[in-house]
């Protein structure tokens, strides 16, 4: 039988994308300027023109299974040249927000990100969990004697707490990633095969990783060059902080107890990471308030949630160190508690927030390399 293409428009989806910052999507008149000026868009089935059409038509399924949405780095070359001010950069960002919320489980957390009115309960939840945990693990009082943050939580319990968080985040991330990977491969047979040559998946992930570490795709942006610097700072800041956390565990297992001297590798990694993270967040916030004409994109609640949470994690981390060095015992533990709360929030919400792009973008970039779609 002849294959028929039946379009099933989902108007609810269109409204959701509009609500997530894609309010300009209906202005698009499909001229294709965006696809041409985008340095990241491949020659065959380029984006974002087709995504704009799909979004207008409410083709939710097609967009959720579209790797190209994730190849976009929102440098806004498209938005700068768009003759209709349809802001493809913003629309694709809105579609990505929608995709993150669709892939992440459980669903009620997904809904929590849809509006700032859920912010208070969202922040209260990790605070309550933290208090409960501290109550079970200790006695809810600040330790006496020399100021050592780690003393707030007895060690085996700290590891158990950490393990619970890591397992939770990993499960949500893996499930989301798996669903996305299945989706993009489902549609592979539908569009004509890409012009490039196929490579193996291991190789493709390696190439994608190299790209990510170099931020090569960001480097191709014209309209928003500061993006690369911003993201590099946040990215490497984050990696250094992960390294510091890892070293913390290693030191501890090796019996070397904190506090560590400022010249020890763990402290250098931690402090440098914090500074980079702060600088990156600062740039990200500054860019959003600067009025350069090429920077006309909208920052949504979804964006602010991650940027501000990251910023406050970095600030509270640095503040803890400062008050500790000033030998203010109660202040140190109080600020550290806030830091733990924010960090805890950041981690458990990562797979539901903009932070989840780490999974989906990496997968999409690897997929693009695999089928030869990468530019």
């Amino acid at each position: 039988m002849e294959k028929r293409n039946v379009i099933k428009p989902d108007s609810e989806f269109v409204r959701d994308v509009i609500g997530l910052g894609g309010e300009s999507l209906k202005k698009c008149f499909q001229c294709g300027t965006c696809s041409v000026v985008c340095s990241l868009s491949p020659g065959d089935k380029p984006f974002p023109r087709k995504e704009m059409m799909w979004a207008q038509r409410g083709l939710k399924d097609r967009l959720l299974k579209d790797p190209d949405v994730w190849l976009c780095h929102r440098c806004n070359d498209c938005t700068a040249y768009c003759p209709r001010d349809a802001k493809p950069g913003d629309v694709l960002a809105a579609v990505r927000s929608y995709a993150i919320m669709s892939y992440a489980l459980p669903g009620f957390l997904r809904k929590a990100f849809s509006s700032p009115m859920y912010l208070l309960p969202m922040l209260a939840l990790p605070a309550l969990l933290l208090f409960a945990f501290l109550g079970i693990a200790g006695d809810l009082t600040f330790p006496k004697g020399a100021i050592v943050e780690n003393h707030m939580i007895p060690n085996p319990d700290a590891y158990i707490g950490m393990a619970i968080i890591v397992v939770f985040v990993a499960v949500v991330a893996v499930v989301g990633g798996f669903r996305f990977w299945k989706g993009i491969n489902e549609f592979e047979a539908d569009p004509p095969p890409a012009s490039g040559t196929r490579i193996g998946w291991l190789k493709s992930f390696a190439f994608a990783a190299v790209d990510i570490f170099k931020h090569g795709d960001f480097g191709k942006c014209q309209a928003n060059k500061i993006n690369r610097l911003t993201h590099l700072a946040i990215f490497y800041g984050f990696i250094l902080l992960l390294l510091a956390a890892f070293l913390g565990a290693v030191y501890h297992l090796a019996g070397i107890e904190s506090p560590y001297s400022l010249t020890s590798p763990i402290k250098i990694a931690g402090n440098l990471g914090s500074l980079l993270l702060l600088a990156g967040c600062g740039l990200a916030i500054y860019r959003r308030f600067s009025t350069a004409s090429n920077n006309r994109s909208k920052t949504t609640y979804f964006d602010w949630f991650l940027i501000l949470l990251l910023s406050f994690v970095a600030i509270s981390g640095v503040a803890t160190e400062v008050v500790r060095l000033a030998k203010l015992s109660t202040a140190t533990y109080s600020v550290y508690l806030v830091h733990l709360w924010l960090l805890f929030s950041l981690l458990i919400y990562a797979p539901f927030s903009k932070g989840a792009h780490i999974i989906y973008r990496t997968l999409a970039m690897a997929y693009a390399k695999q089928v030869g779609r990468a530019v």
Partner: protein
């Protein structure tokens, strides 16, 4: 400023602009019996129509229309034409306007027979603005072969003046007077027609399309001059960079039009303009490859037929996708165009020997608004007439030649009504 002349004609009509709309308004009003003063800034009448190669869709030469109008002016004593004239000030109200007009010196008087001796001996050259600078004329020049009035003009900006005066001795009709200076003309008129026309959008502002950077990227108005028999290449469509006959050419529609960053509106004539220019190319060289890149082809009403005719020409391809990047191959000076063929869903990267940008129309009222109560829209077009002042042609909205003619007639009627109504009332 030299002499001051005065005209008192309370039942007269001032027409500002001698292009198609203004010409029509002036002639129609005069033929009804009203005194008309036609003021034109350039040395010739016919405006941008005179500079076109052919009209669409009939593909006849503009002079077949202009000639008839010039003849109507010549035989009608009611029309007084002032070329090289600029309106400096307008005061007063409906039925009683005081207008100051500056008459710039032509340096050539009515004795001129257009024999061309002055240009032969003239030592100075100037870029020919009539042909968008593609060639040069002498300081003493005739704007075009069919110029009306058929008189030479001397460019005061480059003329060496009395020290040189070679033209003065060469002219056997004593037609040259290098001592002429600007004059001021005061007139009292009853109503005014504003028909100051348009200019093409400044294509150098389209930074991704390379106009002004790459010599073989031209605009649609330049293409008209290239194709015109009295143009800089005697009608041969050749590349500006090397004079080579063009074997492949692309038309880029909506170059700056329907674009929030440039002109948000559609000029309505550029699609037909490019389709028409396709026929120029194909008539000269049937084997030349022609591509038109468009968002939507706007060939409305009966013009659909013209679109279908051009689509049927072998070697003409219409691609649905806006050209968003043009780069030059420095070795060949060919242009590499990039667009998304939105029907096929793939990017096109194709090389052409020449590219024509279909730029839109900007009303001259953006820069030069006249005093009074006219209402302008966001883009500078006249949105509503004021009592006594009536707009015609492309100052009202972007439009084609035949609509401009109708518009001129409309404005003439309005201007006459204004005068008649006042007579009846008072």
């Amino acid at each position: 400023m030299g002499n001051v002349e005065s005209i008192n004609s309370p039942n007269g009509i001032l027409v500002i602009g001698g292009g198609m709309s203004g010409l029509t308004a002036a002639i129609e009003a005069a033929e009804v019996g009203y005194g008309v003063f036609l003021v034109e800034e350039s040395p010739y009448l016919g405006g941008r129509v005179a500079r076109a190669n052919k009209y669409f869709p009939k593909l006849c030469a503009p002079y077949c229309g202009l000639e008839i109008n010039f003849r109507r002016i010549k035989t009608n004593p009611k029309i007084k034409v002032f070329t090289l004239a600029q309106v400096e000030n307008i005061t007063g109200k409906e039925g009683d306007y005081d207008v100051t007009v500056k008459l710039n010196p032509r340096l050539v008087n009515d004795n001129c027979t257009a024999c061309g001796k002055c240009a032969e001996v003239c030592l100075v050259e100037r870029p020919n603005d009539y042909n968008f600078g593609l060639d040069k004329t002498k300081a003493a020049y005739l704007t075009n072969l069919m110029a009306f009035p058929l008189k030479y003009v001397i460019d005061t900006k480059v003329c060496l003046g009395a020290e040189c005066a070679k033209c003065v001795s060469a002219c056997q009709y004593q037609a040259i007077d290098l001592g002429m200076s600007a004059e001021s003309l005061h007139m009292k008129v009853g109503s005014i027609v504003l028909a100051t026309g348009w200019k093409p959008y400044d294509a150098t502002r389209l930074d991704n399309l390379g106009y002004g950077k790459y010599p073989n990227v031209i605009t649609n108005v330049i293409m008209e001059r290239l194709a015109a028999a009295d143009g800089p290449t005697q009608g041969k469509i050749v590349r500006p960079s090397d004079g080579k006959e063009v074997k492949s050419i692309a038309f880029v529609q909506c170059a700056g039009s329907r674009d929030q960053n440039h002109l948000p509106y559609c000029s309505g004539v550029c699609c037909m303009g490019s389709l028409k220019q396709c026929t120029y190319v194909k008539d000269q060289s049937p084997e030349t490859k022609v591509s038109i890149f468009y968002i939507d082809v706007r060939a409305l009403g009966l013009l659909e037929d013209f679109l279908q005719r051009v689509q049927g020409i072998e070697g003409v391809t219409l691609v649905r996708g806006k050209v968003a990047k043009i780069e030059e191959d420095p070795a060949t000076k060919n242009l590499i165009l990039q667009a998304e063929d939105t029907a096929a869903g793939e990017k096109i990267k194709e090389s052409f020997e020449m590219v024509v940008l279909a730029t839109g129309m900007v009303p001259n009222t953006v820069e030069a608004k006249i005093p009074g109560n006219l209402v302008y829209d966001n883009y500078g077009f006249v949105a509503a007439d004021a009592a006594g002042v009536y707009a015609a042609g492309c100052v009202r909205r972007p439009t084609d030649v035949s609509t401009s003619v109708q518009d001129g007639t409309r404005a003439a009627l309005k201007a006459i009504q204004s005068i008649v109504r006042r007579g009846a009332n008072g």
